[in-house]
């Protein structure tokens, strides 16, 4: 087992072995989730705070379920960052979390780096559940897990990520994870949705979806926020759909065994046609199932690091007292 981190802030910098450890562990938990009794006592006595400063029903439910399956004690906090002065909330929250002696914090925040901020100030372990347009590591891990289930090892596999790369934390985490596992990643979307110098992360960029996806093993489709049109990023959603929407005609030009993914929630008829979303190449609902197993794995591995720290502390204390 190759896992020594006490936080999961992002996939940037994680090694192939570390990611493989999470995925292998998730496979074990997925098997447990298939049993009649889906609960294990692994995290009994561990307290986890779910801090959601930004609404995300899906991610929050997935984490909460993972925590329950592991028998952890949980508290939930949600607040909108727009309704309270930024920063104040986070600082006060940090103090409160510390006072409540929480072991782990699962955190979603609209500011990039907010989990890093908490990690600097708390003893608790932080699991990033999405920070601004920075990273969403557990989503990427569940993507990788799902991909591995369908195509096997990802070394040299061709993965296309299509959509609003600029505003996507999922895309960034996916790129780091896929590159660590040796996959070839092509990012597809309009030039206005391409972050500066993204090639520096190791991905290639294309504006031609049909070309980029014709020999892809996996096509991962990102959600298009309708308000991007007002932001001047898109002339119209209609034009976006024409150029980058994944329709059955487009899928017909791809490989027969192509895997279609989407992190949800889907804007049906914008980035993804309903018949493709519900079609036989789509693994979108499997992604949701796998999300729970992957999050269980992350929480489990981090809790083991914490437990070993405590053991070391105890051994150290024992030495000192002798």
């Amino acid at each position: 087992m190759q896992w020594t981190k006490r936080h999961l802030l992002g996939l940037e910098g994680l090694s192939r072995e570390e990611i493989a450890t999470v995925l292998d562990t998730a496979a074990i938990f997925k098997e447990i989730l298939g049993r009649p009794v889906k609960k294990v006592p692994t995290l009994r006595g561990v307290t986890i705070a779910n801090l959601f400063f930004e609404a995300s029903t899906r991610t929050r439910m997935s984490f909460e379920l993972a925590e329950k399956r592991l028998s952890a004690d949980t508290i939930n906090f949600s607040a909108s960052t727009s309704s309270v002065k930024k920063g104040e909330t986070l600082r006060d929250t940090a103090r409160n979390i510390e006072a409540m002696m929480v072991d782990m914090v699962v955190m979603r925040h609209s500011s990039a780096g907010a989990p890093h901020f908490l990690a600097k100030h708390l003893d608790a372990s932080i699991v990033n559940a999405g920070d601004g347009t920075h990273e969403h590591p557990t989503q990427a891990l569940l993507d990788l897990f799902t991909m591995r289930e369908h195509v096997g090892e990802l070394q040299n596999r061709k993965v296309v990520i299509v959509g609003d790369i600029l505003h996507s934390r999922v895309a960034r985490s996916d790129v780091w994870g896929l590159k660590a596992l040796g996959a070839e990643v092509t990012l597809v979307g309009p030039t206005t949705f391409m972050p500066a110098e993204i090639e520096g992360m190791g991905a290639s960029v294309s504006q031609d979806l049909d070309r980029a996806a014709e020999d892809a093993d996996i096509v991962n489709i990102l959600r298009i926020q309708r308000e991007r049109q007002e932001g001047g990023f898109l002339p119209s959603l209609r034009e976006y759909t024409r150029l980058f929407g994944v329709t059955s005609e487009r899928v017909a030009g791809m490989r027969d065994d192509v895997v279609i993914m989407h992190p949800g929630p889907i804007n049906r008829g914008v980035e993804l046609a309903p018949d493709v979303a519900d079609g036989e190449r789509s693994v979108i609902l499997e992604q949701v199932t796998n999300g729970v197993a992957v999050r269980m794995a992350v929480l489990f591995l981090i809790s083991r690091v914490r437990a070993s720290e405590r053991t070391e502390d105890a051994e150290l204390l024992a030495e000192v007292s002798i």
Binding site: E12, K86, G87, E88, L90, R91, A94, R95, E98, H109, S111, A112, G113, A114, H116, F117, H121, L122, D131, G132, T133, H134, E135, R169, R172, P195, A196, E197, I198, G200, M201
Partner: protein
């Protein structure tokens, strides 16, 4: 009358081309004599400068002192103590206070506050810094304003900026332009590039600065007014100014120590002390800034000292106000990164901190010429130290240099013939109120 004799230092006065082991005699607040070996009677204080550098007091033409309105972060008094602690004897105080410095009485207020250094007010270009109506520039000039600036934002209306330049030409002082197109910078917090992409921070393209530099250079050309471009941070801006100067335009510009020292990779730590406006730029930009300093395109180094309280800065990166303190690290960062970095020799670096910035504002300071007001900065160039938060005299501690090693200690600062700061004993700058930030764990940010 007080007579101070500074003995045996390496006297570097870039204005006069002096670089030699000399004595300096100060009498009645002025430089009385600079010579090989001065015999003087009735000397009240002798400063042994053996092994030290004796330079003119530094002139920092871009400083935020936060008074009136934000005295928690800094006051004119505390900011001036920070200045002399860093060897800076003249500061130009930017008018983006609350309220802004846009009337003669506010200019007089700034100029009249008790201060350890010479504090010269910069007045706003437009009333309330709202970019709508020109301030009464002639009256503000008479009250003591040394320049005009809406620093913090550009004057967006190009026609109004043109009038401002026209009118300032009549008044005879430069317009200091903060060049930023807010439509392009948006609510960005990091330089647009691989670092902003990796960090997921909203990007600020170099073009946000450069389109305004280009516009203001064009307007300076049509009006013939003196334009000074503040805190130049990109390769493109340096090139635009270089071409404008080649075309004979009366334009000057400054950069800040962080723009020739730190790259945008710093934001990957999400440490809010590196959140500045304009943002830290790419390695290529840093190299271009260094080249601009080397070839004379950039006329001055200014700190853009921007104090913010611990509470204001100890938040998420994108929620933190932009700016870092810089008065006290101005010289050490210059020595460490420009002189040790092989970009400039010591006299050339000191020129950018003394008579050249003074010249931009038409000030007689930044020289050790006999008869000039006695502003002197004495530096021990041999010591290197790791900067600690407690070392700063500024009320605020928002510095990315905390925890980093810098060379050069200002051992004595003399302003108008008075010793106003001394590093080893006799310190006049102690500030009992300047305790490090409140809060337990959260206060530790070094």
């Amino acid at each position: 009358m007080k007579r101070i004799l500074i003995r045996g230092g390496r006297v570097i006065d870039p204005a006069a081309g002096t670089d030699d082991t000399l004595d300096v005699l100060i009498d009645d607040g002025r430089i009385a004599e600079v010579a090989g070996s001065i015999e003087a009677d009735d000397v009240s204080t002798t400063v042994d400068a053996d092994g030290r550098i004796v330079a003119p007091g530094l002139v920092d033409i871009h400083v935020h002192l936060r008074e009136p309105g934000n005295e928690d972060a800094e006051t004119i008094e505390s900011g001036s103590r920070a200045a002399v602690h860093g060897g800076v004897t003249t500061v130009a105080a930017m008018p983006n206070t609350e309220p802004p410095i846009d009337t003669a009485s506010w200019v007089e207020f700034v100029a009249s506050r008790k201060a350890a250094a010479r504090v010269l007010p910069v007045a706003a270009i437009t009333v309330g810094r709202r970019g709508e109506n020109l301030t009464e520039m002639a009256e503000l000039r008479t009250a003591g304003a040394v320049a005009f600036s809406d620093d913090g934002c550009s004057v967006l209306n190009a026609a109004l900026m043109r009038r401002a330049l026209d009118y300032a030409r009549m008044v005879g002082v430069p317009v200091v332009s903060h060049c930023e197109d807010p439509a392009l910078s948006g609510n960005g917090t990091a330089n647009e590039g691989l670092s902003s992409t990796r960090a997921g921070l909203k990007p600020v393209p170099a073009a946000a600065e450069e389109v305004m530099v280009a516009r203001d250079l064009i307007l300076a050309g049509t009006t013939g007014a003196r334009l000074h471009v503040a805190h130049v941070s990109t390769a493109g801006s340096v090139e635009l100014v270089r071409r404008a100067k080649a075309d004979g335009l009366p334009v000057t510009c400054e950069t800040c120590p962080h723009y020739f020292s730190l790259t945008d990779e710093e934001v990957l730590t999400y440490d809010s002390s590196v959140r500045v406006n304009p943002p830290l730029r790419s390695r290529t930009d840093v190299e271009a800034i260094r080249e601009g300093l080397r070839d004379g395109t950039i006329d001055a180094i200014a700190s853009d000292h921007a104090p913010h309280t611990h509470e204001d800065k100890e938040v998420e990166f994108d929620a933190a106000p932009p700016g870092m303190i810089g008065l006290e690290t101005l010289l050490p960062v210059t020595l460490t990164n420009l002189v040790d970095g092989g970009v400039l020799d010591l006299p050339a670096a000191l020129a950018l901190l003394t008579h050249r910035p003074a010249g931009i504002l038409g000030l007689p300071h930044g020289t050790l010429a006999v008869g000039s007001e006695a502003d002197v900065c004495i530096v021990d160039p041999t010591t290197s130290r790791t900067i600690e938060a407690s070392w700063f005299r500024s009320k605020s501690k928002n510095s990315p240099w905390i925890g980093r090693k810098l060379r050069g200690t200002v051992t004595t600062t003399i302003c108008r013939g008075e010793i106003v700061s001394a590093e080893n004993g006799g310190d006049t700058g102690a500030d009992p109120s300047a305790s490090p930030g409140r809060g337990r764990k959260l206060a530790v940010h070094a």
